[in-house]
Amino acid sequence: MTTMADGWQQNTDDRPPALRRRIRWTVGILVALVLAIVVIYFVLMSR
C-alpha cells in the first residue's frame, strides 16, 4: 500500500529546522486562538 512516507508525496522532512520551528509556532498560536475562542464562548454562555 502507498504510504504518506513514499517519495511521490510532499516530503516535509527536508525543511530547514528554523522553518519547521516557525510553522510549529504558527500552528500552535492558531490552535490556542481557536481554543481561547471556545473558552470565552462558554464563559459568556454560562453567565
Binding site: T2, W8, Q10, N11, T12, L30, V34, V38, Y41, M45
Partner: protein, 524 residues
C-alpha cells in the same frame, strides 16, 4: 548527477487511479479535489433550487409537500454555502497560494489531505437526512429554535455534519495562514503579496474566529433537544433570541468569508485584462481588513424585527452602512484600474466585469436593508432573497467561474474554448438577472420567503424567475462540458497564458510541475 535526476523523477511520479487522490498530500491534487467536489455540489444544490422554482412556477401546491419544500430551501442553502462556495475558494487557495507566494507546497500537506476528505463524509451525512424519518432539516439554514428543534431524526446528523464542516474549515484556515506567513519566497514581503493571497489570509482569520461560535451554537441546540438543557427554551428560562445573536455573530463574518476571496480574484483578473497595475494596492489591503473588522459588529442587522433597544438598532444600522465605505473603495479601485487601460474581453474578464456590476447591485440592495425602519418592511420577503442571491451568484459564483477560466489553462496546459466561454457568460448573465431581478419586485410587494404557495398577484414575476432559473441551470452545463473538454484536450497554453498577467504562477510551466517551486523564486 544521476542520483539527482532519479530523485526528481521519483518526485514527479505518483500513483494513478484512486490511490493518488485518496493519499495525496500535493496542493494541486487537493485543490483539484476541492474544485471537483464544489462542482458536484453546485449541481446538487442547483437541482434543489430548480425543485424550489418549479414549485413556485404557479400559485398553489404543484409537486412538493410543504415539509419537503422547506427541506429543499434549507438544504439548498447549506449545500451552496458549505458545499460549493467555501470548498471552491479553498480549492482555489490550494492551487494558487503556493504558486503565488513561491512555495513548494502548503505548510501542512498531510492535514490538507484530511481537511478535504472530511467533506465528502460530512455531505453524505447531510444529504442522507433527506431519507430519514421526519425528512431532512426544514427550519432554514439559520436553524432558529424552537422550529429547528422540531426536526425529526435528522437533527443530530445535521449538527454532526456542521461540526465536521467546521473542523475541515478551521484546519484549512490554519494551513493557509501557516503557508502564507512562513512559506513565502524570501523577497516577497507582505505588501508585495498578490491580492488573492491577502484576501485569503484575512478570510482564514475570519474562519478561525467564527467557526467555533457556530459549533458552540449548534451544540447547544443538541443539548436542548437531547440532554434537557434550556438554552433557547423560554419555558425553561432560556431565550430563543439568544440563538439568533449567536448564529449571526457567526453568520455575518461568514458572508464575508464567502466574498473576500472573490474580491481577491477580481483584483487579480482586472489588472491582467486592463494591462495596468491594480489601482490602489495598499488601499485594497486596508479595505479588506476593514471589511473583516466591521463584519464582527454588524450581526444584529439580520434581526432588527426581534425588537431591540433603539440604541442597538442605530448602532447596527450605522456600522452596517459603514461597510459601504471600504467596499466602495474596492469598486472604485477596480474601475480606476480599467480607466484608460488597453482592455480586452476574454471570458475571465467578462465574468469579472459581470461581478463588479451585479455585485454592486447586491451591495446597494444591502444598503437598503441596512436601514432599520425600511428593513421592518423588507424583512423575510423576497427582497432579501434577491439581495443575497445578487451578492452570491453573480458575486461569489461568478468570481469562482472567472478564476477557473483564468487559471484553467495554467492548471491543465490546455486553452479552453473561448467561444463556448463567451456563450456561457452571456447566457449566465442574462438568465441570472431574469431569475433574481423580479424577486426585488416580489419582495417589495410583500411576498414572504420560504413558502411553497403564494397569492395570485405574485404569479407573473414568479413565472419569469422560474424560467430564468432553468435557463441559468442549463447554461452551467456548458461550463461542465467546457471544463471536461479543456482537461482532456485543447490547444497548448504557453507558460505566460495571458499577456498582461503578472505573478509567480506564470513563471512556471503549464501545467506546473508536481512540486511547485523547488528553489525559492525572486520577487521584484
Amino acid at each position: 548527477m544521476s542520483a539527482v535526476i532519479e530523485e526528481e523523477a521519483h518526485h514527479e511520479e505518483h500513483p494513478s487511479g484512486i490511490a493518488r487522490w485518496l493519499f495525496t498530500t500535493n496542493h494541486k491534487d487537493i485543490g483539484t479535489l476541492y474544485l471537483w467536489f464544489a462542482l458536484l455540489m453546485f449541481f446538487i444544490g442547483g437541482g434543489m433550487a430548480l425543485i424550489i422554482r418549479t414549485e413556485l412556477f404557479q400559485p398553489g401546491l404543484q409537486m412538493t409537500e410543504p415539509q419537503f419544500f422547506n427541506s429543499m430551501t434549507t438544504m439548498h442553502a447549506l449545500v451552496m454555502i458549505f458545499g460549493v462556495v467555501m470548498p471552491a475558494f479553498t480549492g482555489l487557495a490550494n492551487w494558487q497560494v503556493p504558486l503565488m507566494v513561491g512555495a513548494k507546497d502548503m505548510a501542512l500537506p498531510r492535514m490538507n489531505n484530511w481537511s478535504f476528505w472530511i467533506l465528502p463524509f460530512a455531505f453524505a451525512m447531510l444529504l442522507s437526512t433527506l431519507f430519514m424519518p421526519g425528512g431532512g432539516p426544514a427550519a432554514g439554514w439559520t436553524l432558529y429554535p424552537p422550529l429547528s428543534l422540531q426536526t425529526g431524526d435528522a437533527l443530530p446528523f445535521l449538527i454532526f455534519a456542521i461540526h465536521l464542516m467546521g473542523i475541515s474549515s478551521i484546519m484549512g484556515a490554519i494551513n493557509v495562514i501557516a503557508t502564507i506567513l512562513n512559506m513565502r519566497a524570501p523577497t516577497m514581503t507582505l505588501m508585495k503579496m498578490p491580492l488573492f493571497v491577502w484576501t485569503w489570509l484575512i478570510t482564514a482569520f475570519l474562519l478561525i474566529a467564527v467557526m467555533p461560535v457556530l459549533a458552540g451554537g449548534v451544540t447547544m441546540l443538541l443539548t436542548d433537544r437531547y440532554f434537557g438543557t434550556s438554552f433557547f427554551n423560554a419555558a425553561g428560562g432560556g431565550d430563543p433570541v439568544m440563538f439568533q445573536h449567536i448564529f449571526w455573530f457567526f453568520g455575518h463574518p461568514e458572508v464575508y468569508i464567502l466574498i473576500l476571496p472573490a474580491f481577491g480574484i477580481i483584483s487579480t483578473i482586472v489588472p491582467t485584462f486592463a494591462r495596468k497595475p491594480l489601482f490602489g494596492y495598499s488601499s485594497m489591503v486596508y479595505a479588506t481588513a476593514s471589511i473583516a473588522f466591521l463584519s464582527f459588529i454588524v450581526w444584529a442587522h439580520h434581526m432588527f424585527t426581534v425588537g431591540m433597544p433603539l440604541a442597538g438598532e442605530l448602532f447596527f444600522m450605522l456600522t452596517t452602512m459603514l461597510i459601504a465605505v471600504p467596499t466602495g473603495v474596492k469598486v472604485f479601485n477596480w474601475v480606476a484600474t480599467m480607466w484608460r487601460g488597453a482592455m480586452t474581453f476574454e471570458t475571465p474578464m467578462l465574468f469579472a466585469l459581470g461581478f463588479i456590476i451585479m455585485f454592486t447591485i447586491g451591495g446597494f440592495s444591502g444598503l437598503m436593508l441596512a436601514i432599520t425602519p425600511v428593513d421592518f418592511q423588507y424583512h423575510d420577503t423576497y427582497f432579501v432573497v434577491a439581495h443575497f442571491h445578487y451578492v452570491l451568484v453573480p458575486g461569489a459564483i461568478f468570481a469562482i467561474i472567472a478564476a477557473v477560466y483564468y487559471w484553467l489553462p495554467k492548471w491543465t496546459g490546455h486553452m479552453y474554448d473561448e467561444g463556448l466561454g463567451k456563450w456561457h457568460f452571456w447566457l449566465s448573465t442574462i438568465f441570472v438577472n431574469v431569475t433574481f431581478f423580479p424577486m426585488h419586485f416580489l419582495g417589495l410587494a410583500g411576498m414572504p420567503r420560504r413558502i411553497p404557495d403564494y397569492s395570485l398577484q405574485f404569479a407573473g414575476f414568479n413565472e419569469i424567475a422560474t424560467i430564468g432559473a432553468f435557463g441559468f441551470g442549463l447554461a452551467q452545463l456548458i461550463f461542465l462540458y467546457l471544463v471536461f473538454k479543456t482537461v482532456r484536450s485543447g490547444a497548448h497554453a504557453g507558460d505566460q497564458v495571458w499577456e498582461g498577467a503578472r505573478g509567480l504562477e506564470w513563471t512556471l510551466s503549464s501545467p506546473p510541475p508536481y512540486h511547485s517551486f523547488e528553489t525559492a523564486p525572486e520577487v521584484k
